[in-house]
């Protein structure tokens, strides 16, 4: 005799399979009827369009795969910087709300309510309008020699270091060596109670070499200053107005939610925690840093993960203001090739993977922040 629950389960699975089978049958029948084939071969074909800004070298004539990769990297670059900036803004505002000063509390509250209650799209359109309203390249605002802000973006001087790559490798190796020495020495200190002499020597050696390398590279360094050539600036390091608008728009919007998460998680801790810390003589900063923050972090991480995922998905609004993210580049590719189903499938898979990777990373952090039984 089959139990009732079991029967319900089986019925549900059979129904689900039937619906899926029906949908996929329709899907393939419609494709055949419309004469549409699914073919990702276009990814290997050559493009005939440019991309405004790219982290990898790309020009028309490269493959669609490379164009989409350039778009994806723009998305990732925007998402990482956006998450970092939103977190900084959010934590600052969230902590400001806790200080207890009536004016600061109110300012934080207004900030949170404003960012949470204005649609993101509107914020982005306003940001784009503001950066585009900056003076033209010939009237660029130049607060310092080589720093230029105009409607073409922010241009900064780029330090050019000879043998930059070798220097970078040397610095990385030095830091790795110092870190390893530190670990070993600390282990030694745990065993003997004394920080080993050799460790001290090695560490100061690393420090001296590092300072020397830096001084040498600064002395031989030349600055690549951006200069106006014809219509636009050449040289230097630059970010476009669209990137700036997207970055600040996303960070501003998301930071309101993060501020509330920070404030709420701290408020959720029992009052006894901070009272106990005060009675031990800890100041307000140490109370926060040593007692409250580690406990609040545990509460913060899951809702924070949601905000990060939202931010990643919201980068797709870049289409609206012309920042060449994955979707913007993909839409152009879709149009040039007519491969709608393929392109949309690529979007789905990429955003799914980006979100899953972020979730996994946050979950790792959660594990580390878990309460440990001693």
């Amino acid at each position: 005799m089959i139990s009732r629950e079991r029967l319900q389960g089986v019925t549900f699975v059979v129904a689900a399979i039937a619906v899926l089978a029906w949908l996929s049958h329709n899907f393939s029948a419609n494709l055949v009827a419309k004469g549409i084939t699914i073919d990702f071969g276009f990814l290997k074909e050559a493009t005939s369009f440019p991309i405004g800004e790219s982290l990898i070298s790309y020009s028309s004539g490269d493959t669609y795969l490379r164009a989409l990769t350039a778009g994806l990297l723009n998305t990732i670059r925007l998402a990482i910087a956006g998450i970092a900036l939103a977190t900084v803004f959010g934590v600052v505002v969230g902590l400001t709300a806790r200080i207890g000063h009536p004016l600061l509390t109110r300012v934080a509250k207004v900030y949170v309510e404003f960012t949470r209650n204005v649609p993101l799209l509107l914020i982005l359109v306003v940001c784009a309008t503001v950066v585009r309203a900056l003076p033209g390249p010939r009237q660029a605002w130049t607060p310092l020699d080589g720093v230029m802000l105009s409607s073409r973006g922010l241009y900064l001087p780029l330090p050019l270091i000879e043998n930059g790559m070798a220097l970078l490798i040397a610095v990385v190796l030095l830091i790795a060596a110092a870190w390893a020495t530190m670990r070993l020495s600390l282990r030694g200190k745990n065993e003997t109670g004394v920080f080993p002499r050799t460790g001290k020597l090695a560490l100061s050696g690393c420090g001296v070499i590092l300072v020397g390398l830096c001084a040498w590279s600064v002395s031989t360094m030349t600055l690549d200053r951006p200069a106006l050539v014809g219509f636009n600036f050449r040289g230097g390091w630059s970010v476009t107005p669209e990137y700036l608008a997207m970055l600040f728009g996303l960070a501003f919007y998301t930071s309101g939610f993060i501020a509330e998460i920070v404030r709420g998680s701290l408020a959720a801790l029992p009052k006894g925690q901070s009272e106990a810390a005060s009675s031990l003589g800890l100041g307000s900063f140490l109370t926060l840093w040593l007692v409250l923050a580690p406990q609040a972090l545990r509460l913060m991480l899951p809702p924070l993960a949601n905000q990060y995922l939202n931010l990643i998905k919201n980068t797709t609004l870049a289409v609206l203001i012309g920042y060449p993210d994955l979707v913007s580049v993909g839409n152009t590719a879709l149009n040039q090739t007519g491969r709608a189903i393929e392109t949309v499938t690529i979007y789905l898979l990429i955003y799914l993977s980006l979100s899953l990777v972020t979730s996994v990373l946050i979950r790792q952090l959660e594990k580390r922040a878990q309460l440990v039984k001693l």
Partner: protein, 349 residues
């Protein structure tokens, strides 16, 4: 108001491609070669037009859509259904138009669309003869001091996404060995805001569209549009490749509008001429001598209905793009072949 409309439009736009894929999951309708029958059955034609493209498809002062592309939709509806009001307009972005056409969401695409080999060959759009000959060029502010497109090296160029313009711009700069920075946006409204706001040095697009933007912006004298076309862009309405009957109607509706102009048949005199003309060409075109309607599967008075609704090609042009419109474009290439233009009709017999 405008902003909310744009946001909604964009939000809908973002979803459309997905929705189209979703539509493929719907049950199959038997329709190979039956689109025309379906239109007749439901008494309505769905026409894909531009979102806000002055002269082609944009809301007029009375709030109704107007433009040369909208006129083509009306001509189709009056030829097939005898009533130019039986049209459902679907305003679509440039990126979505062919997806909508392929999925059957729209019956006819009249959307300032250039005929290209890829669009016919790979995307299965079937284009009629052109309803507007345009050419690709650049608009720049006069203050820039540029006299020819060849001086645009290193410029930032505003370009419409999902159009032939991205490729045109690339080809132009690449062939001259010049560098440039593209700023790609999805709608004319966004492009106008960026270009007139000073974000770009040049605005790449077709002459007709650029002239429309310049008029809408107001300060016509502050901007130059280079008059030499870099490419020819023949705009033509299209239908999807799986219904030959609908394609035939679309093709000959376009020809009939041009032929009516050559024969001096206008909105005002078409009814009289249908009843009284003794000119054999006029008699055949207006159905006094039957045959054309039967061959296309339409009623014999299809041209009379059409011309009564929107006029002949010349009337439609002048009303939307020419002297009767804010754009004030010359007929130029779009004049009749008898007057030095490219507009001609194959014989309607």
């Amino acid at each position: 108001m405008k902003l909310t409309g744009r946001i909604q439009g964009r939000a809908l736009g973002c979803l459309t491609a997905l929705a189209m894929v979703g539509a493929l999951f719907a049950p199959l309708e038997a329709q190979a070669g039956k689109v025309l029958d379906t239109i007749k059955q439901k008494g309505n034609l769905t026409c894909g037009v531009g979102q806000a493209v002055p002269g082609f498809s944009a809301p007029a002062t009375n709030g109704e859509l107007a433009g040369i592309d909208v006129d083509f939709c009306k001509a189709m509806a009056s030829a097939i259904l005898g009533d130019s009001n039986k049209v459902t307009y679907r305003q679509t972005s440039y990126s979505e138009r062919f997806v909508l056409l392929a999925s059957g969401e729209i019956d006819v695409l009249a959307h300032d669309t250039t005929t290209t080999l890829n669009r016919e060959g790979a995307q299965k759009a079937r284009f009629t003869s052109p309803n507007y000959f345009d050419g690709y060029t650049f608009m720049v502010p006069k203050s820039l001091g540029v006299e020819s497109p060849d001086q645009l090296a290193d410029a930032t160029v505003c370009i419409l996404q999902g159009s032939t313009f991205e490729v045109n711009t690339e080809n132009f700069f690449k062939s001259r060995g010049m560098k440039y920075t593209p700023l790609v946006l999805g709608t004319w409204e966004q492009l106008d805001a960026a270009f007139f706001g000073g974000r770009c040095d040049a605005f790449g697009g077709n002459y007709g569209n650029l002239a429309g933007s310049r008029v809408a912006h107001g300060n016509v004298d502050d901007y130059i549009i280079f008059p030499n076309f870099l490419t020819l862009e023949p705009y033509a309405p299209s239908v999807y490749g799986d219904d030959q009957d609908l394609f035939l109607v679309a093709r000959w509706v376009m020809f009939a509008m041009v032929e009516a102009e050559r024969l001096n048949i206008t909105q005002a005199n078409v009814k009289d001429l249908a009843a009284s003309s003794t000119d054999p060409e006029v008699q055949q075109l207006l159905g006094a001598k039957p045959g054309n309607g039967k061959d296309l599967g339409l009623s014999e008075d299809w041209v009379v209905n059409m011309v009564s609704a929107v006029g002949n090609y010349g009337e439609s042009f002048e009303r939307n793009l020419g002297k009767g419109s804010p754009l004030k474009l010359d007929r130029g290439l779009n004049d009749l072949w008898t007057k030095g233009g490219l507009m001609y009709a194959a014989p309607l017999r």
